[in-house]
């Protein structure tokens, strides 16, 4: 059995009496691709906020890479390789695209500022290469020196994903990366997502694009009103009556499932293994 890179046990988040996450038990096995779906307001972003330390948990535990991370600050969790993206962009707007990625990748010590002032900060070849790779995989190389504000929304979204990749995640948490992308960008992203797994990371994906989620995930959780109402492989989720009722809707489910098949096929055609 592979070990779980992330595991939550009874994770609960309460906002003024309302349980935005209600006793969520969820696991991401190392090296796998796990999805989380659910209707608007189900508590998906709140879940990411909770495990990355942006909101406090009112009950339960979160374990990352074998360590209880409940007491760690957000940047400490990021330092351990638990890297998130944001649903609402949140880029560094006055840094170039490349610098956005370098911020995430470059390690600094307390004395780095002294080296900076002497203009002696050592170049870190490994990180520069990693940044180039992240830019390349998301088709951002041509805009590396542009400002994020000069890019269309879809590409800005991808800068957020690239920034997370540059930070050398063990687990990358993607909050609706495909929202706001046009069809080409979205298909392209779908194609790239699984290649992330080849770079020593596990992936956790939230998205409303059912076609995308069903096609790329190994395992899917379904959240509604803060509770996990179903889980399973894409095939199981597609057939699950509770999911159909709560989320997909009878008709929509069919359409989405067909879409998923279509994407899967296109992937097999175009990505040589």
């Amino acid at each position: 059995m592979t070990k779980n890179i992330l595991e939550t046990d009874g994770l609960t988040v309460t906002f003024g009496g309302l349980n935005a996450n209600d006793s969520v038990d969820l696991a991401v096995p190392e090296g796998t691709f796990v999805g989380l779906i659910g209707p608007n307001g189900a508590g998906k972003t709140t879940f990411i906020d909770a495990i990355t330390g942006y909101v406090g948990m009112s009950a339960g535990t979160a374990t990352f890479d074998g360590e209880d991370i409940g007491a760690l600050k957000p940047h400490e969790r990021a330092g351990k390789g638990l890297i998130r993206t944001f649903q609402s962009l949140e880029l560094f707007e006055d840094l170039s695209v490349r610098d956005n990625l370098l911020v995430a990748g470059y390690p600094t010590k307390w004395y780095t500022f002294i080296l900076d002032m002497l203009h002696m900060t050592p170049k870190n070849q490994e990180i520069e290469e990693r940044v180039d790779w992240a830019l390349d995989i998301l088709n951002l190389t041509d805009v590396a020196d542009a400002m994020p504000t000069d890019l269309p929304h879809g590409r800005r979204k991808l800068v957020g994903v690239a920034r997370a990749l540059a930070a050398k995640p063990k687990l990358i948490l993607l909050d609706e990366p495909a929202a706001g992308l046009d069809t080409t960008e979205s298909t392209n992203l779908g194609r790239q997502l699984r290649t992330f797994l080849d770079h020593d990371m596990s992936v956790f994906l939230i998205d409303h694009d059912m076609g995308l989620v069903l096609s790329v995930c190994d395992y899917i959780y379904v959240l509604d009103f803060g509770q996990i109402i179903a889980q399973g492989t894409p095939a199981e989720i597609r057939e699950d009556p509770a999911v159909k009722a709560a989320y997909l809707g009878e008709q929509a489910g069919e359409v989405q499932a067909q879409e998923a098949d279509r994407i899967r096929e296109s992937q097999q055609e175009e990505v040589p293994s």
Binding site: H75, E93, D99, V103, A104, T112, F113, D116
Partner: protein
């Protein structure tokens, strides 16, 4: 115990003032979303207007003659803009009250139309700069129009200096204190009722929520904003007139600090809350001062410091515990920040600047030494703002006080208990440290104080941080800088600076032979310091930590997600900036035969901030330009406006106007960036490189459009 209770009760007098000012701040904030740092200055202008009219029958309009009658300009005898109106001898008190209130209303209108309406869509930063600009402008104009002399206005109505005493618990409290309390309560209740029951008030509340809400009730949002500005200013004016018998009108400018505490107590939205908050602050401060008189009170904590620390503590407590370590999801965005480009040609720029500086210095051209070093010192200090405000985005108004802390600490550490110069009044005792050590110690102390002051910034951001640091300026001045126990007998007036000698070389600027501050070794020393710090600050921007500073400035949530320890990064920024401010403070002290707290007054600090913004707060070039612009610096002296004492106020008023225009026109980016844009633009034109788009919209017109325009004009 009894004395304490009496003191607490007497506190309702000052508390009433803070309450009235706090209520006005709430009104302005609700109408326009601006925290008005100039609110106390409006009260001050009204109070001066009142007193001037009663004394001399004159009214001064809130501006100055752009071609002043001094220096060689005196001979021109031109008066371009009417400033002074004579309303006749011995006008009645009520006329004076009415004119003072009208003047406040007029200032409110001007603020709305000239400053805050143009800034209504500006990012937070722009609004803060705008309102600090108005504060600096009004206090400079007060200095120009009403001069520096003391006023002794006896007040009017029940609010007079000879108000009969009320006996309580065997002590006496002037009756006017209770009138002030009553005035604050009546005023607060009236504004509350206005918001509660009138259509205008309800529209303001609706506009608070969203602009459409107000429009539905039939008022345009801009009308509402304007009307609230007038109302807020009239409230400030009323507070000024009612309280003038207790104090010097000039002091009103800084009463904005306790008033901010009061307004924050009301969460910037509740007038009754602000009224209660103001009264509580007044009561607590009065009680604190009473306690500070007791025998057991530690001598190193002076009573005046206590009075000014109360609002600081209230403000910090309210904001710190309301704030979050990271902004919560969806909290209002801070808006666009001024660009902070890397400087690529650091060494070339350095060479050019140093070359010019050396040319101007006494080595080649005589008698410019003192002026040149004023600009250099300002630039050096502004580097600290570039790091903290420019790179890290923390709007701190307190950095110049840290320079003061360093200057005074240095004199203390280096003093040896003997007279430095024959005509020194005070003799300072100290540790007799040799010079590099005394300077180093001073810089370390300034850094530590800066770090402590920076702690609130971990949870308080944007304009609220500006509020905290402004109140820290006032508290620091009384707790540290003017503290005779800590910093020596001269701390309240002039502290002689020991003659600095680094490794056997005298590097002070004061030349005992000429009695001027023009010693060439000092200039050389200063050029060296400015160069080293400037290069270091420019390099910081290019390095890994500098990038993290900018990331924190842009988005703290995302910065944490990228693994940045936001708290530590902010502390690092405060530390670096405070150390630079400390270096500037020590070198400033080296220039003077003696340092005094006036050298580091809050207005001097705000003026430096203003000129730093005007130059460009995000770049080294901006700091250099800012340094040239300051009063007493190269540009002002070249233009020849240095003939009379008043010059500083003039230059600062001009600087304040520049600051406001800068906020409106360039989004706070400053002259350096304009010039960069122009430079790029010209280069682009020369190279005809299509990839660099000219920034100017006119230049984006197509040939056809231009043709069309020309034809249209011909027809």
């Amino acid at each position: 115990m009894k004395e304490l209770i009496i003191a607490l009760i007497a506190g309702v007098g000052a508390g009433g003032l803070y309450a009235m000012l706090g209520a006005g701040l709430v009104v302005a904030f609700r109408g326009s979303g601006v925290i008005n740092f100039a609110h106390g200055a409006v009260a001050a202008y009204a109070a001066y207007t009142f007193d001037e009219l009663r004394e001399n029958g004159d009214v001064y309009l809130p501006w100055f003659d752009p071609i002043p009658e001094f220096g060689f300009l005196k001979t021109l005898r031109i008066n371009n803009l009417p400033v002074k109106l004579h309303l006749g001898e011995d006008p009645s008190t009520w006329l004076a009250v009415a004119v003072a209130l009208l003047m406040s209303a007029f200032i409110g209108l001007l603020m709305h139309f000239l400053v805050f309406r143009p800034l209504r869509n500006a990012p937070t930063l722009g609004k803060v700069i705008g309102s600090v600009g108005v504060m600096l402008y009004l206090s400079s104009i007060i200095a120009v129009n009403f001069g520096g002399q003391n006023r002794a206005d006896v007040g009017f109505g029940g609010f007079t200096t000879d108000s009969p005493a009320v006996e309580i618990l065997g002590g006496t409290i002037p009756r006017s204190n209770f009138y002030l309390l009553a005035a604050a309560v009546v005023m607060g209740a009236a504004v509350w009722a206005l918001y509660r029951f009138t259509r205008f008030g309800i529209s303001t509340r609706a506009a608070d929520e969203n602009e459409k809400g107000a429009a539905l009730l039939g008022y345009s949002p801009q009308f509402i904003a304007g009307a609230n500005w007038v109302l807020a200013s009239v409230l400030a004016g009323a507070a000024g007139v009612l309280f003038i018998h207790k104090t010097q009108p000039a002091l009103f400018v800084l009463f904005v600090v306790p008033a901010l505490g009061a307004a924050l107590f009301g969460n910037l939205s509740s007038v009754p809350g602000a009224t209660v908050g103001g009264l509580l602050i007044g009561i607590a401060a009065s009680g604190g001062v009473e306690l500070a008189d007791k025998g057991w009170w530690p001598a190193w904590l002076p009573a005046e410091g206590v009075r000014n620390t109360v609002p600081l503590l209230v403000i910090i407590l309210i904001l710190y515990f309301r704030g979050d370590k990271l902004p919560i999801r969806g909290s209002i965005s801070i808006g666009r920040q001024p660009r902070a480009p890397e400087s690529n040609n650091v060494l070339i720029g350095l060479g050019v600047c140093v070359g010019i500086a050396i040319l101007l210095s006494n080595i080649f051209v005589s008698s410019w030494e003192a002026i040149l070093t004023t600009s250099l010192l300002a630039t050096l200090f502004m580097f600290s703002l570039v790091v903290l405000v420019g790179y890290l985005g923390q709007i701190s108004l307190v950095q110049f006080s840290l320079a003061g802390v360093a200057a005074f600490t240095m004199t203390r550490l280096a003093a040896d208990g003997t007279k430095v110069r024959p005509n020194d009044f005070f003799v300072n005792t100290g540790w007799d440290l040799p010079d590099p050590l005394a300077a180093l110690g001073a810089v370390i102390v300034a850094t530590i104080v800066g770090l402590v002051v920076g702690i609130p910034a971990l949870r308080i951001r944007g304009v609220q941080l500006a509020v905290v640091t402004l109140s820290a300026v006032i508290a620091l001045e009384d707790i540290l800088i003017r503290n005779t126990t800590l910093l020596g007998e001269g701390a309240k007036s002039t502290n002689p600076t020991p003659e600095p000698s680094w490794f056997g070389q005298y590097v002070g600027a004061f030349n005992p032979d000429t009695n001027r501050t023009d010693y060439w070794k000092y200039t050389a020393f200063l050029i060296l310091a400015v160069s080293l710090v400037g290069v270091a600050v420019a390099n910081l921007r290019r390095g890994a930590m500098g990038r993290k500073f900018l990331a924190v400035r842009a988005n703290e949530r995302a910065a944490a997600a990228a693994g940045i320890d936001v708290s530590k990064t902010k502390m690092l920024g405060f530390g670096i900036s405070s150390a630079i401010a400390g270096i500037a403070g020590v070198l400033f002290a080296y220039k003077l035969p003696a340092v005094s707290s006036d050298n580091f007054s809050v207005f001097a600090g705000l003026a430096l901030l203003a000129f730093a913004y005007l130059g460009g707060i995000t770049t080294i070039g901006g700091a250099v330009i800012g340094g040239l612009l300051v009063a007493g610096g190269l540009s002002a002296e070249t233009l020849g406006v240095h003939f009379e004492d008043i010059d500083v106020a003039y230059i600062n008023a001009v600087g304040a106007i520049g600051l406001i225009i800068n906020a409106i026109v360039t989004g706070g980016e400053g002259i350096a960036m304009l010039q960069t844009d122009q430079g790029k633009h010209i280069l682009a034109g020369l190279r005809r490189d299509p990839t660099i788009a000219p920034p100017d919209s006119v230049l984006n017109l197509t040939q056809e459009e231009i043709q069309g325009d020309v034809e249209g004009a011909l027809v």
